[in-house]
Structures are given as structure tokens and as C-alpha cells.
């Protein structure tokens, strides 16, 4: 029933369509991309042509190949970070909400501290202190700064579910706390967990692009964020190389839209009050 509502939801299908498109691009990059993204032996600053459909960069790399290969890193960062963030949210939110007492107080305070700190500045500071540049530190930085909001949502959901009669009935049936959490509380929040996952993925993709554009990632890897960094650095728009500057941004926006649409769609399916006829 729920699956059907999801499959007939237009936002869900649009989001899933975009996501599948980028997933195929990332998975088949070696087959699709015309050249190696790091090959710098082409004439620099070419406009679109038959040999280079989207032209070349100031360093003589093929823009199309970079765009295709760049989807890999972006998708990996998005999905891995979303998984990590969801895991932390699950543990902090549900553990605090269900156990209560001083453990909940400490976890709530921690959550609130991370909530009041503005995300991007915090990320920049943390990233500046991380000396190793690359994908792993970026995932780390985004995870550390991005879990708090969802943890708070899950905590309040847990508090609501915990006082439901079916949870109390399960207690009377002799179920242990952890079995109740795993068999009653988490399954009843499944929709919110999935929506949160896509929300976190959206946050991760945009944050990664932001950090890399500022040069806080490893500028030698090929991602959409670093493409933007180099395009800005080499004044792509002054040179008339608009496709080099615009297309990575469009891709980031599209992938973000996909995650956002999926987030809204899941929200809509699990919360019937948001459903439109």
C-alpha cells in the first residue's frame, strides 16, 4: 500500500529518475567518458566541438569527461555521508528518547549545541583544521556538523511512540527494551528515517560542493565541486567557457533536487495529511 503510494507519486518518480540517471553515469563512467578526466594533453580553453562536446578547461582537460567522472565522487560522498548521519541520528535520537533520564539530558544538550552553531562556518573551521585533504575528511566534516537536526526529530518521534499503548502492551508482554526499540519503535519510524536519509544526502551534496568550491577539499580530485573551484580560479566566464562553469553547478542542483524530491515524497507518503489528491 505504502509502496504503491510511493510509486504513483510524481515527485518520487522524478527524484528517483534523476538519481538513477546520475547513478548510471557514475557506474558507467569508464565506458561513457570519452577521455580520462585527468588527461591534460588537450589544447586548453576550447569551445564545444565534435572532439570535445563541452570544450576543454584552462588546463587542457575534457569538460564532459570531468563532468561524468565527477558524478562518482559526489554520489559517493552524498550516500556515504547520509548513511553515517542517519546512523548517528538513529543512535542519539532513539537512545536518548527511549532511555530518558540523564543520558537523554546530555544527548539533548549536545544536539542543541550542534543545532545553534551555523553549519557552513562550522564546517569551514573544522575543514581548516583537518590537514589531510580528500574525500574522507569531507565526509567526516559534513557528518560531524549535519546530524543534529534529524536526531532531534527522531528523539521527539521516539518520545511519542514510547507512550503509545502498543509499546506499553509490548512491555507487559515481557519484551526487553532493545527488542521493543528494534521491533516496534524503529519500524514505526521507517518513513521518517528514509525521508531523513534523503534530507541528509541533499545536505551532504550541497555542503561538499560548497567546501570544495572554497578550496577546502582536495583540489586535485575530479568532482563537481572542484570543477567549480578551478573554473572560478581560471576565470572561465571571462574566457567565455560558460559550459565549464555552469554545468557542474547544474549537476549539483539536479542531484540535490533529486534528493529533495525523494525526501518530500517519502514525507508525503508516510504522513497522509500532506498527501494531495
Amino acid at each position: 500500500m505504502t509502496l504503491r503510494a510511493f510509486l504513483t507519486n510524481r515527485r518520487a518518480m522524478a527524484g528517483a529518475g534523476i538519481l538513477v540517471f546520475f547513478a548510471l553515469l557514475a557506474g558507467l563512467a569508464p565506458l561513457i567518458a570519452p577521455y580520462s578526466p585527468t588527461n591534460i594533453n588537450f589544447p586548453p580553453m576550447l569551445g564545444p566541438s565534435a572532439a570535445h562536446l563541452l570544450g576543454t578547461t584552462a588546463n587542457g582537460q575534457d569538460v564532459l569527461s570531468q563532468l561524468i567522472w565527477g558524478s562518482r565522487d559526489t554520489l559517493i560522498v552524498g550516500l556515504v555521508t547520509a548513511t553515517l548521519i542517519s546512523g548517528i541520528q538513529l543512535i542519539v535520537g532513539i537512545f536518548g528518547g527511549y532511555v530518558g533520564g540523564w543520558i537523554d539530558e546530555v544527548l539533548s544538550m549536545l544536539t542543541n549545541i550542534f543545532l545553534v552553531m551555523p553549519g557552513l562556518p562550522l564546517m569551514i573551521i573544522v575543514a581548516a583544521y583537518v590537514t589531510v585533504k580528500g574525500t574522507v575528511p569531507i565526509i567526516f566534516v559534513i557528518t560531524v556538523t549535519g546530524w543534529a537536526w534529524g536526531a532531534r526529530v527522531l528523539r521527539s518521534q521516539t518520545l511519542t511512540l514510547r507512550s503509545q499503548a502498543f509499546v506499553e502492551a509490548a512491555q507487559l508482554s515481557g519484551e526487553s527494551r532493545w527488542r521493543i526499540v528494534l521491533t516496534h519503535i524503529v519500524p514505526n519510524m521507517a518513513g521518517i528515517l528514509v525521508a531523513n536519509f534523503f534530507g541528509a544526502a541533499l545536505y551532504a551534496v550541497l555542503s561538499e560542493a560548497g567546501l570544495e568550491f572554497l578550496g577546502l577539499g582536495n583540489v586535485n580530485t575530479v568532482t563537481w565541486g572542484t570543477m567549480l573551484y578551478w573554473a572560478e580560479n581560471d576565470e572561465a566566464l571571462l574566457m567565455g567557457l560558460w559550459q565549464w562553469m555552469v554545468l557542474p553547478g547544474v549537476c549539483i542542483a539536479l542531484l540535490g533536487t533529486a534528493f529533495g524530491l525523494l525526501n518530500f515524497a517519502v514525507d508525503e507518503v508516510v504522513n497522509p495529511r500532506l498527501r494531495r489528491t
Binding site: 499503548a165 502498543f166 506499553e168 507487559l172 515481557g174
Partner: protein
């Protein structure tokens, strides 16, 4: 069916095997309000009760009287804050360890008021019923399904195989409540707390569920505390009835005595309000039923019913009236019968 009951709730620890539950001075208070404006709500004040094996006790009171609090305290969903609970001769710690709770709940089960909220919508009937069977080690894993089917048959959901794999949304309200009853039975308890088990059901199936409870209770020598706001319903199922008001017991006695010869002015009020064609209001007759249940944060020391009582007098105010024995296990807490 009622075995004789000792007259006074006070007395030394007992190992009387006929006694399933003895509650002495059970109290429950909640702290409400934010820091600086904290107040204590006394939802239960020194409730004494005894329950024999195979006995049905009707606990009657209006909303806010503490009857649900009583059930939740006895089930340790909200642990009591004072008093003693003796179950089958063993005193229960008020701060139980998980082990204590597990042992206690294998003997005391509860039927919930709302059959829509008390079943997990994601679990099939089989999964719901197998929970207590597994955790209390009632049936080995290989026989869980057969045991669940047997439980469903005993609550009248036949053929049981049709119901085992259904989800709650595929059941009617009455069928859900039958599943709730089967779940309570699964642990093979000595005592079942039924918290207004019929109040959320259609009027037409209330009696069916009450009869089912009675059949099960008689067939298994179960003790049952039937909580309701309806004196007539309590009279139908109970051997004895206890009247709860503002967390205090005001009158307790054989069901027929409370129904036909109520002593406490509050019981008389409930009696008048009971929808019964043979009694109750006559046209043109007025019974003063004004007033609201008292604010439980500022209870005066006297009888809690004083503000609404048509026969209140000076003697009601200084302290809570003592229990008066009326004979035949009928007791009332009112100064009118000194």
C-alpha cells in the same frame, strides 16, 4: 463464586493461597509544572484492596478519579510512589528490577482501553500473540503457532487460521479487542487488569466482550479487576465493586449491595446516573449532580467528596472518615454511618 473475604484490609502479611492480590495504602503522585512552580498531583491516596483467586472486582469512578492510574500503577507502567503490593503472598518492590518486572508481569496482565492504539499496526496477530508466549516461555518455538491459534479460538476468533496472519487494519474494533484479550491471556496470568475494555467499542458489542471476559475468567479461575465508569456495567460483571473518587476508595462491597443499597452519597449519585430502566431518574425528579472532581493538587484533609456532597457537614472536614463495617463485606467511608 465469591469466597469469603477478611473484613479489614489491614493485618499481617499473609500467605493465604486464595488471596491473589493485596494492595495496602497504594499511592501515586506525579510532579507537574516547571521548576519553581512544581506541584504534586496526588492521583491515588492510600488505596487498600484484596482480591481472591477467581474473583471479579469492579473498580468504578468518573474521569480523573484515578482508576486508570490504579491499573497503570498495578501494572508498573507508572510505578507506585507509596504503599505495598502483595502478589500471591509475595511483596513486590516498588522500584522493581527488570527481572522482578518480568516475573511480576508473567502473573499480572492488562487489557487496554483503546483497541486501535494497543496493537502495533505493523505486526500481524500472530506476531503480537507470540510475543508473550516467547518471552514468558509458555510454548516452545515449534508450537507457538498452534498455541496462538488456540488463544484465538478461546477468544472467539474462529477459524483461528484466518486471523493469525492478519494485520490490525484488517480487523474490526471488537476483533482487535479480542486479540488484546488473547494477548493478556497468553502469559497465563493470575490477575488481569481490564482498563475500560469496552468503552471504545460499539454499544452493541460491549456485552459480548463482557461475556467473553466472564467466560474466560470462570474457565481459568482468573482474578479480574474490571475498571469502568459505568456502575451498571460493573454490576454485570463483578462479584464486588469498589468506588474510587479523587484517588480515594469511598465504598466497597458485594456488587448487588452497592447497586441496590448504596450507602455513600457519591455511590448514590452514581446509582442515580446509571442508565437503568428500573431505577434512576423519574420525569420531573431532579438529583443535584453539580460540581466537578476536585483539583488533585490541593486536596483538603477531609473527605474528598465534600464540595459536591448534598449531605456534607462539619464532621466531614477535619480528616478522612474511617471505614465503617456494614456487614457482609460491605464497607463505606462516610461520617453519616457513625
Amino acid at each position: 463464586m465469591t469466597a469469603p473475604v477478611q473484613a479489614a484490609p489491614e493485618g499481617s502479611a499473609t500467605t493465604d493461597s486464595a488471596l491473589v492480590l493485596e494492595v495496602r495504602g497504594l499511592s501515586k503522585s506525579f510532579t507537574v509544572g516547571s521548576i519553581g512552580r512544581r506541584r504534586r498531583v496526588r492521583a491515588l491516596n492510600g488505596v487498600d484492596l484484596r482480591l481472591e483467586r477467581g474473583e471479579v472486582l469492579g473498580l468504578v469512578g468518573e474521569s480523573g478519579s484515578g482508576k486508570t492510574t490504579f491499573a497503570r500503577a498495578l501494572a508498573f507502567l507508572d510505578s507506585p510512589t507509596g504503599g505495598e503490593i502483595w502478589l500471591e503472598g509475595v511483596r513486590q518492590p516498588l522500584q522493581p528490577t527488570p527481572r522482578d518486572l518480568h516475573r511480576y508481569r508473567s502473573r499480572v496482565q492488562m487489557i487496554f482501553q483503546d483497541p486501535y492504539a494497543s496493537l502495533d499496526r505493523l505486526h500481524t496477530v500472530y506476531r503480537t500473540l507470540s510475543q508473550p508466549l516467547r518471552s514468558f516461555r509458555i510454548a516452545p518455538a515449534s508450537q507457538t503457532r498452534a498455541a496462538c491459534a488456540e488463544l484465538l479460538e478461546s477468544v472467539g476468533l474462529v477459524p483461528a487460521t484466518d486471523f493469525l496472519d492478519r494485520y490490525p487494519h484488517e480487523l474490526s474494533g471488537g476483533q482487535r479487542q479480542r486479540v488484546g484479550i488473547a494477548r493478556a491471556l497468553a502469559a497465563r496470568p493470575a490477575l488481569i487488569l481490564a482498563d475500560e475494555p469496552t468503552s471504545m467499542l460499539d454499544v452493541s458489542i460491549r456485552l459480548t466482550i463482557m461475556n467473553l471476559l466472564l467466560d474466560l475468567q470462570q474457565g481459568r479461575a482468573l482474578s479480574l479487576i474490571f475498571i469502568t465508569h459505568d456502575l451498571a456495567g460493573a454490576n454485570y460483571v463483578s462479584d464486588r465493586i469498589a468506588i474510587l473518587y479523587a484517588g480515594h476508595l469511598l465504598e466497597i462491597g458485594p456488587a448487588s449491595a452497592l447497586m441496590h443499597d448504596p450507602y455513600h452519597p457519591y455511590t448514590q449519585l452514581l446509582r442515580k446516573a446509571a442508565p437503568d430502566p428500573q431505577g434512576g431518574f423519574r420525569r420531573g425528579e431532579r438529583f443535584d449532580a453539580s460540581g466537578e472532581p476536585p483539583d488533585l493538587t490541593e486536596l483538603a484533609p477531609g473527605c474528598p467528596f465534600v464540595p459536591r456532597c448534598p449531605q456534607a457537614r462539619a464532621a466531614c472536614h477535619p480528616h478522612l472518615p474511617a471505614w465503617r463495617e456494614l456487614g457482609g463485606q460491605h464497607r463505606v467511608r462516610c461520617v453519616l454511618y457513625d
